[in-house]
């Protein structure tokens, strides 16, 4: 059955009329603001006090802090211990990651929140890793960009659950990229809806660019390096077990990809980069991400 695309106008109307617009958990805004200060001015107690205000978030953060994915190999028992051993920014990454999970609607959704979160977290980790390897962007910024790139999917799950289900079902049945199915059945993609939310939250301009253009990095108006980096990491995750719950039936040649050309403009070394090794390294994230996400989701 085909239905007429709902279009961006309908999306805007529904977003306006929605009482429960997904918001960043109350704790995170002051935390992120506080962490913008120079590190030497930061106080461990202040950070743990801020995080402790949200007990559930604090428990999730502690669980994540104990994962090897965040560099912790020995058990940390407290938020204080986590901040001391992992550092302010790593804890901020963790808190933000849990925040994204908590933004997902409850109940039965088309795209399983666990799968969505695995993809976002996996993409964030690959972005951080890649940024470090090719020395392109600040690894923490790259992590945040990877984590938030699909904000629009959260919007779609909240605002247009039925219509998004149709788009998701088409993507899954036809084994095509989700944004292509959205364009076909909704008339817009999660890039458009993500931009609305990112702007209403007042995210930094480069993060808004990532949310808006991660599927079309060549359209990015600013320096497209970060956008292209997220685009490539997203692509690699979707071609691995960190996809949206289905395999896209296609062959990806990174070197022919438009995003790759944008990335190469910012960083020429990507042409010599060992993409095979990165792909194999991504494999090692799979199990960790799967088990971590399931553990945190139950917390």
């Amino acid at each position: 059955m085909t239905t007429a695309p709902v279009g961006k106008q309908v999306l805007l109307q529904r977003l306006d009329g929605l009482r429960q617009i997904p918001t960043i958990p109350a704790v995170l805004a002051p935390l992120l603001k506080y962490l913008q200060q120079p590190v030497e001015q930061l106080d461990v107690k202040k950070v743990t006090d801020l995080l402790s205000q949200d007990k559930s978030l604090a428990a999730q953060c502690l669980q994540m802090a104990n994962s090897p994915l965040f560099g912790r190999w020995h058990k940390v028992e407290s938020l204080h211990g986590a901040v001391v051993s992992l550092g302010f920014h790593r804890v901020s990454d963790i808190a933000m990651s849990c925040g994204v999970l908590n933004m997902l609607p409850g109940g039965k959704t088309s795209l399983d929140p666990v799968i969505f979160w695995e993809h976002s977290l996996g993409c964030a980790l690959v972005c951080r890793h890649l940024a470090r390897k090719i020395n392109l962007a600040d690894p923490e910024k790259a992590y945040l960009a990877g984590l938030l790139h699909d904000l629009g999917i959260i919007v779609n799950l909240w605002v247009l659950p039925q219509e998004f289900r149709t788009a998701y079902d088409i993507a899954k049945a036809e084994e095509i990229p989700l944004h292509e199915a959205e364009q076909k059945s909704l008339g817009f993609t999660h890039c458009d809806s993500g931009r609305l939310l990112a702007e209403s939250w007042g995210l930094a301009p480069d993060l808004i660019e990532v949310v808006t253009f991660h599927h079309f990095p060549e359209k990015s108006s600013q320096d497209g390096g970060l956008v292209a980096l997220v685009h490539i990491a997203d692509l690699l995750c979707r071609m691995s077990g960190l996809n949206y719950g289905y395999d896209e039936a296609r062959q990806v040649d990174l070197f022919e990809d438009e995003g790759f050309a944008v990335l190469a403009q910012s960083c020429t070394s990507v042409r010599d980069f060992d993409w095979a090794r990165l792909t194999f390294e991504l494999d090692s994230y799979l199990e960790e991400v799967h088990s971590l996400v399931r553990a945190v989701y139950r917390t």
């Binding site: 090897p68 071609m239 395999d247 039936a249 993409w275 090692s284 799979l286 960790e288």
Partner: protein, 326 residues
């Protein structure tokens, strides 16, 4: 071109002398109880160095999630060499007088257990769902409906038989009216004899689904023999991949599978083999290596492509249509 400094040189011609039949090797491959096999905490720096050395020299990568496996394999070798620490073993691999033979012995241990039917399901799925349709699309414009696949380094035959089974499943669908030819080559006569006999034990057949087991195998006591249908259209022959003269005769391939074979070759020999593969592959052809095996630093003639859950190599010169999808 970026090149790995190959610190240890291995020669393809020697590898088969050290390679034993997987069924036989399995007897010695019980989990090691050596003290090094207790992976807790961050990866040991010396183990990471051994991992990087193996990737640099052999092109096979152990991601962090597989380091415990590598640790176990090193442990087994250390036990035999009566070495106590990974540092000692690393030195043996890089500085010791027997480093070349020891590296081959370790690579043999790493490759153990790799051989079985339907070994790499994601690679096979990608072949079935993406690669075959791509190849057929190009070839259907040609008069001859023939598909030629080469299993280079087929060992005891599990790989070519698996490919045959996968293609047989499509005989009345995707491959209707297509003729199939699978060439399976190996250096080792004993492996080839086993392959032709087509009788396998539990270890090789561990990944078989019940459906494939009954469809393609006949029980023979405790063992299983591949049914004649799945043995058809496969020709086994002895071939040394370093034999330049004979390699030039393997022309017209649509796909080449060469899994965990190049790991035994030094950089120069590897490049020569890859050049032959390049010449032998048709323009639309695909080269498949083993899981976590890479051509980085070896060849710029081939380009890495990503398939769902798998990677493959295509000719770099070939033009692709669309953004990045064919």
């Amino acid at each position: 071109m970026r090149v790995h400094p190959a610190r240890v040189l291995l020669h393809g011609d020697h590898r088969s002398l050290l390679r034993q039949r997987p069924e036989r090797l399995r007897v010695t491959s019980a989990p090691s109880l050596h003290p090094v096999a207790s992976p807790t905490g961050p990866p040991e720096p010396d183990l990471v160095r051994i991992r990087d050395l193996i990737y640099e020299v052999a092109g096979i990568f152990h991601p962090d999630s597989k380091l415990s496996l590598l640790r176990d394999r090193c442990g087994r070798r250390m036990k035999e060499l009566k070495m106590k620490t990974l540092r000692e073993y690393l030195e043996c691999l890089t500085l010791g007088p027997v480093r070349q033979t020891e590296l081959i012995a370790l690579l043999n241990d790493i490759a153990i257990g790799e051989t079985c039917f339907f070994r790499n399901q994601q690679q096979l799925d990608a072949l079935r769902h993406i690669v075959l349709p791509n190849i057929l699309r190009v070839k259907s414009q040609l008069p001859q409906r023939r598909l030629r696949i080469w299993s280079a380094g087929c060992s005891t035959g599990e790989e070519p038989y698996t490919l045959r089974m996968l293609l047989l499943d499509q005989a009345h669908a995707l491959l209707k009216d297509w003729s199939i030819e699978i060439l399976a080559t190996d250096l080792n006569e004993r492996s080839l004899a086993h392959a032709k006999e087509a009788v396998y034990g539990n270890y090789s057949t561990r990944n078989l689904t019940a459906a494939n087991r009954s469809k393609y195998f006949l029980p023979q006591g405790d063992l299983l023999q591949v049914r004649p249908a799945a043995r058809s259209n496969i020709s086994f022959s002895r071939l040394n991949l370093s034999d330049d003269a004979r390699m030039t005769f393997m022309k017209g391939m649509d796909a080449i599978f060469c899994c965990n074979v190049l790991i035994y070759f030094d950089l120069v020999s590897k490049r020569r083999v890859i050049q032959h593969f390049f010449n032998n592959l048709l323009p639309h052809g695909y080269l498949f290596l083993g899981r976590s095996e890479s051509l980085y630093g070896v060849s710029e003639d081939f380009r890495l492509v990503h398939l769902p859950g798998a990677t493959a190599y295509v000719k770099a010169e070939r033009s692709l249509t669309g953004v990045n999808t064919i």
